[in-house]
């Protein structure tokens, strides 16, 4: 039984990693083939860096992720504080339900629903092309918000309710008590929420696919368009770079502090399926 379970575990990890290893290996393939390895070369990496269109989408994706993470972190933290102190049980549970919708709903429905609204609003106000960077940003903020709120709320619940009272007792106004005492307590949750929002935004394809206009491409959308045609190992090179960037980030955060790495891990752990 012991050996059987070890063999099973080994096979599972083989299953999980085989495609990734193959991807890495063939990104260094000399030839265009993605099934026969004919020799080592950096050809596809060079081609990738000459591909300005793809590099532009990388920049777009980063800009979008930073904006979406920033806005959703601020708004989500404030929302969590408000929800935590909400006195009406009904309002609170109603808000909880609404917050859960983007996490439970399939991405395709979230994407379609926002697209329909944007298109309708566009017709109403007479825009020819109603989908753009702004609609994409709105969509990203919307699906990031619940994850931020869900990271901050438990921190608020864990916090000793007398902490803000103690701060006020010792001379703080309610507003300063929040900044000086509550926010430092919430910070781990806020940071985790922000990292989650950032990675979710980076990774999202489905919702972006429906809510962006032709003028603004993100990297996942670029990959989608590339895979429509025959794929060169150039895309493998791109995937390899992304993979190692993320792996490095993971390692750094693992070395610098446990809380950050936990944040990254739980970001992925709780990340809902993009797909």
């Amino acid at each position: 039984m012991k050996t059987a379970s070890k063999i099973f575990t080994g096979l599972m990890f083989l299953f999980l990693f085989a495609p990734i290893v193959i991807l890495l290996v063939f990104s260094f393939n000399e030839a265009k083939s993605t099934s026969v390895f004919s020799g080592f070369s950096l050809r596809w990496y060079r081609e990738l860096f000459r591909d300005t269109e793809t590099l532009k989408t990388v920049r777009n994706t980063l800009v979008l992720a930073v904006c979406a993470a920033g806005v959703s972190t601020v708004m989500g933290t404030a929302a969590a504080v408000g929800i935590d102190r909400m006195r009406s049980k009904y309002l609170r549970s109603a808000l909880d339900t609404v917050t859960n919708i983007p996490m439970i709903n399939p991405d395709i429905i979230t994407g379609i629903s926002m697209m329909l609204m944007f298109v309708f609003a566009g017709r109403l106000f007479g825009f020819a092309n109603s989908l753009s960077f702004s609609t994409l940003l709105i969509a990203h903020i919307t699906f990031c918000l619940p994850y931020v709120i869900l990271q901050v709320l438990p921190k608020l619940r864990q916090m000793d309710a007398s902490l803000p009272e103690a701060a006020m007792d010792l001379g703080c106004t309610p507003w300063r008590a929040f900044w000086k005492v509550e926010l430092p307590e919430l910070l781990p949750g806020v940071v985790t929420g922000m990292i989650m929002a950032f990675t979710l935004s980076l990774d999202d394809f489905v919702i972006s696919y429906f809510t962006t206009g032709t003028g603004f491409q993100t990297l996942p959308i670029r990959i989608y368009n590339m895979t429509k045609k025959t794929v060169t190992p150039k895309m493998y090179a791109l995937a390899t770079i992304i993979f190692f960037v993320i792996l490095t980030l993971l390692l750094i955060s693992n070395l610098t502090g446990r809380s950050d790495s936990q944040a990254l891990n739980s970001a992925k752990r709780e990340k809902k399926t993009k797909n």
């Binding site: 009272e165 007792d169 010792l170 309610p174």
Partner: protein, 372 residues
Amino acid sequence: MDKIIELKNITKSFDGEVVLDNISLDIYDNEFITLLGPSGCGKTTTLRLIGGFETPDAGDILFMGRRINDLPPHKRNVNTVFQRYALFPHLNVFENIAFPLRERKTPKAELEQRVNEMLSLVALKGFEHRSVSSLSGGQQQRVAIARALVGKPRVLLLDEPLAALDLKLRKDMQQELKNIQKATGITFVFVTHDQEEALSMSDTIVVISEGRIQQIGSSQDVYNEPKNAFVADFIGESNIVDGVMLQDKLVSFSGHTFPCVDGGFGPSEAVDVVVRPEDVDIVALDKGQLTGVVTSVTFMGVHYEVIVDIGGFKWMIQTTDYVGVDERIGLYIEPDAIHIMKKSEYSGLYGDYASFSNEFDELSDAESEGAE
């Protein structure tokens, strides 16, 4: 002594449930006053009203003669030591204590000097840079006290500050708190459900039950002269029996007439009679004013706790003499050991030891602490 805080006809309810019912209380400068009562009696709410965390539904709170009902906590010259300390986990010991001073932008030199004074007052020199989570319960307690005192409040509010400590530490801290209060001359308003703690520390005890003040007095007053059956039962052990006041200084109960020292009741007025267990002497059968049969004897260390059935009513007696179970004994009570109280709503609720057992007592104690 000057009145520093006055509560006038305070009423407060939460969700329609009255927690404080028309409470009036004067707190004097430089006194150690304890609000004592079972959990849920309204003592913590009283404290939170003074601290500014709640506002009264009716009535006024005066601070040195000025109405402060609407004054937010940070503008009150009153500080609180919270039940579970509420130390700021992201700040070290020094910064926790310096918190109120930084809030007031105290100059660096003065700030350091005052924090250091506080550190030596609570005997925590050398712990400045420790994180508060690395401290023991007793040390955290000291930081909380130092932090509340560093801003030189006129009044310090303490909400069951010792509840989380073990017995030995609690005893030490009681003494230390008393010393700090004397050294600083600050008024302490102390909330507890532990009557021993209240008796040993307070200048004044305020006994509260069901949102109403039952008695205000010194430790001796509330122990020796309880106003009603609730106070008599809650503070110390008491035998409370029905009696009839025959005339001044003569009372009849348990089928016998006793000389006593109280007076001022109507002729043949029904009263509650309190006799403390340590005030009942065991004597020979023929010398006793009362006789009874021993139903149980428990060795308590310093004394025996004896339950005696006297005409169907179970008395508790504390004695150093050993008596056997089922033995018939005589009992004698000195006149000044008999305390007479007017009948109240609490009459008949307390004072019979028929169902008494130590385990049961501890059990309900633990329960009330858990509920706090």
